[in-house]
């Protein structure tokens, strides 16, 4: 049976063959019938392929543009709902394709190893290890004592107990973290004394601020955690993102754990992973909005953005800013800057692309994959039959 399909492996994409295999089995086709079906499929497939010279860029732009008009224009604020706030709709799509360094709502979904998902308690425990916990959250008051030249910290014993800390542990971390200050335990908490020779108010103030933000537990930047169930699996949704640190955690199943920060994905998992992440994010936004944009457009955009090995957005700093033509760049954003620098450096414009030809009222060279020169060569003709 498989020999029938083998001949077509070159001509048809794997997915089409797989689908045909299932269908042929269901309707019990003979080999001859299957071959006929495959031949028909090849015909259909070749008719659907884009021809050289098709303007795929503008088709992609239009495909996104039209659907974009139907999208949520603003971020929803779900007041009082136990959900982690994530930017959706058009704003998310814009920041994704602009390749903003930090998304407006960084978030992660963290999957756990099976031994940690047995019951809710163990999941909550891992979640509490994820969330960043700073000294500020278990303290009642920070006071500057100018007379004694020290900072007094009053700890909140109830909160310490609630979060499962011990006072000794906290003191230990403080001692380790604040190297330029001496720590002395008091009844309510502890006092910090700077160890520099000259002590003034600003030094004390700085010490207070750095004491406040001392990390006691958790992963930095993860500000909120929410354990949920997604497709039968326990997932911890996090507001804030720190992919590298989280992947190194022992309890975390790294395989599916992802961040929505594309740059973080690129730096920890490589450019190919970033490409995949851009696609996943874009598709999830599109599906979330109930729209239908062909995946090929998304793939094309993701390919363009990751072409040079780093993630570049479709902005004047990214892809559009690298256009050869001055006029094309000027027509996109900040025209005056481009024109002034071009005239100062004596740039030339060869009018090879679309926009500059529209400007000078000439026919436009349009389409992807067109050769510069087409000629008939005798020998090639014979090979074609």
């Amino acid at each position: 049976m498989s020999d029938v399909y083998k001949k077509f492996e070159e001509k048809l994409p794997g997915r089409v063959i797989e689908e045909l295999k299932v269908e042929a089995k269901a309707s019990k086709l003979t080999d001859a019938e299957t071959t006929k079906a495959l031949n028909d499929a090849v015909k259909e497939y070749e008719a659907l392929l884009i021809s050289p010279g098709e303007s795929i860029g503008i088709v992609t732009a239009e495909s996104f543009g039209e659907a974009g008009t139907q999208m949520t224009l603003d971020v929803f604020h779900l007041a009082g709902v136990a959900e982690i706030q994530v930017t959706r709709g058009l704003p998310r799509l814009i920041e994704l394709f602009d390749a903003r360094k930090i998304p407006s709502t960084p978030s992660m979904s963290v999957y756990l190893k099976s031994e940690h998902t047995k019951n809710e308690k163990s999941i909550r425990k891992v979640a509490s290890f994820l969330k960043e916990m700073r000294l500020e959250e278990v303290s009642e008051e920070f006071t500057l004592n100018i007379m004694n030249e020290s900072v007094e910290v009053d700890l909140d014993n109830k909160r310490i107990k609630d979060f499962g800390f011990k006072k000794e542990e906290i003191l230990e971390t403080i001692k380790k973290d604040l190297k330029n200050a001496s720590v002395k335990e008091t009844k309510k908490g502890f006092t910090l004394k700077p160890e520099s020779e000259e002590i003034n108010l600003s030094i004390l103030y700085k010490l207070k601020e750095s004491a406040k933000s001392t990390l006691l537990r958790g992963v930095p930047k993860i500000i909120q955690v929410l354990p949920t169930k997604k497709d039968g699996k326990y997932v911890i949704l996090c507001a804030g993102s720190n992919l590298k640190k989280v992947l190194e955690m022992e309890q975390v199943e790294g395989k599916f754990t992802v961040s929505n920060n594309i740059f973080e994905v690129a730096s920890t998992l490589g450019i190919e992973a970033a490409r995949q992440a851009i696609m996943n994010e874009a598709v999830s936004v599109i599906e979330n909005q109930g729209l239908d944009i062909d995946i090929r457009h998304v793939m094309f955009l993701a390919d363009m953005m990751t072409q040079t090995g780093i993630v570049r957005g479709i902005t004047r700093g990214g892809i559009s800013g690298e256009k050869e033509s001055v006029l094309a760049r000027a027509s996109f954003e900040t025209p005056i800057n481009h024109l002034i620098t071009a005239s100062l450096t004596g740039e030339k414009d060869n009018l090879k692309s679309v926009i500059e030809n529209v400007m000078v009222n000439q026919p436009i060279p349009l389409g992807t994959g067109l050769p510069g020169l087409i000629s008939k060569i005798g020998e090639k003709k014979e090979k074609k039959k």
């Binding site: 955690m249 790294g254 998992l269 490589g270 450019i271 995949q276 995946i295 090929r296 040079t308 090995g309």
Partner: protein, 80 residues
């Protein structure tokens, strides 16, 4: 508490393989292009750390595709 995470196990990371000189030449001839014209991958890219890449190597990437069962992609190593 901490451990090294093997990024090759991550679902987002496809398989990267380094091509030998001959294999690379064959690919370039097949598409009739030069190394400058294929997409790039940085020398410092996390996914190719184990392959000990050098400037100008061609990396073959086999990745799952939403429109096909599997696709092959090529990237050339550039400095950075």
């Amino acid at each position: 508490m901490t451990k090294e995470f093997d990024i090759k196990k991550h679902s987002l990371v496809p398989t990267h393989t380094k091509l030998t000189e001959e294999e690379a030449k064959k690919v370039l001839d097949e598409f009739n292009i030069t190394k400058d014209e294929i997409p790039k991958i940085l020398l410092s890219d996390a996914a190719i750390k184990d392959l000990t890449p050098e400037y100008g190597d061609v990396i073959k990437i086999s990745r799952p595709s939403p429109t096909n069962t599997k696709t092959t992609f090529y990237r050339v190593v550039v400095n950075g």
